[in-house]
Symmetry: C2
Subunit: 189 residues, 2 copies
């Protein structure tokens, strides 16, 4: 272990909001290093509510997944249900439950946490909470809102690792949820 | 499989930049669904250069990791080296090599791709490319710039899975890199 550069915590001197959208806000934080108290540097941070996602496992072992058009990459992706914790949600677990029902039409008898993560600690302040849902019951079609359009796809669990390797599953936070659920293999893949 | 909501691709009618920072820009894209050609909806997207990270494995099997203060969460994290592909970098592999040397002081005899991912396909357009570096040689101290301050920590590979489970490793893209390298375990962790 090197002893070069023991990292110290910076202090925010002042902040200004650069933009606000329905899903996050962007701020510049002028921050100060304790060894250089006279100098501020700007750092750019996205603030958003906590995010959630959930691995829904049907009784036959298949994963209930969702295909949807994603505007960041401009393509249809294959993901697990997820979204953000709304103001009406009592907490992340209830938000995951709501997203499961809205995006897939499946209700769950059990929803349990499997882990949480920082989507990007350099530029995002929020956390993503992952869950596993079991004892699934199909209640009806997805309840898509005006701009959402989800297609439900049932995928055997054994197909998930090759779909991550091939890039068919391409969302980092979906990969993290499966990693929390299944754990890492012992050696190089 | 349900046939409800076969997701269709939207078309961008027009875009406006809301903010530009040194590390990404934020735009609102007014987009149109093919079934509702008269109506636009705004979607918010962050554009940034490609990102890279690299798992550096020393000859004794330990992983060369980096502790640094992260302004998004306002805490010191434990990560692998990484950053963005600069305009001077010929490509992601060279960017990963540069970040390895800058952040840790280690050079590598070999650096190979292990996988890539969309950090967040809903709100980000870019990709993160992960690599593994071997045949490491310590060249000197990290070459930190004015605001960077990294501490190099050597961590045995077997400690990585429990550090992900405990949250000591908390960056989604670091977890994804290890997942690309090691693969997922066969069953629930």
């Amino acid at each position: 272990m090197s002893d070069v550069g023991r990292p110290k915590a910076w202090t925010r001197a002042h902040s200004r909001e650069l933009a606000r959208t329905p899903v996050f806000s962007l701020s510049a934080h002028a921050s100060v290093h304790p060894d250089r108290p006279g100098a501020t540097h700007d750092f750019y941070v996205l603030d958003a509510p906590a995010w959630v996602n959930v691995v829904p496992i049907a009784d036959d072992g298949r994963i209930v997944m969702v295909r949807q058009f994603r505007h960041g990459i401009g393509q249809v992706t294959l993901e697990i249900p997820g979204g953000m914790v709304d103001a009406q949600d009592p907490g992340p677990r209830e938000a995951a439950w709501r997203e499961l029902i809205e995006e897939t039409g499946y209700d769950a008898g059990r929803i349990e946490p499997v882990g949480e993560i920082s989507p990007n600690p350099a530029i995002q302040s929020n956390r993503c909470h992952s869950f596993v849902a079991t004892e699934l019951v199909l209640r009806g079609p997805p309840a898509n809102d005006g701009t959402e359009e989800t297609e439900v796809v049932l995928v055997p669990l054994r197909q998930i690792p090759p779909m991550i390797r091939s890039g068919e599953i391409c969302h980092a936070l979906v990969v993290v949820a499966f990693c929390h659920l299944l754990g890492l293999a012992e050696g190089p893949a």
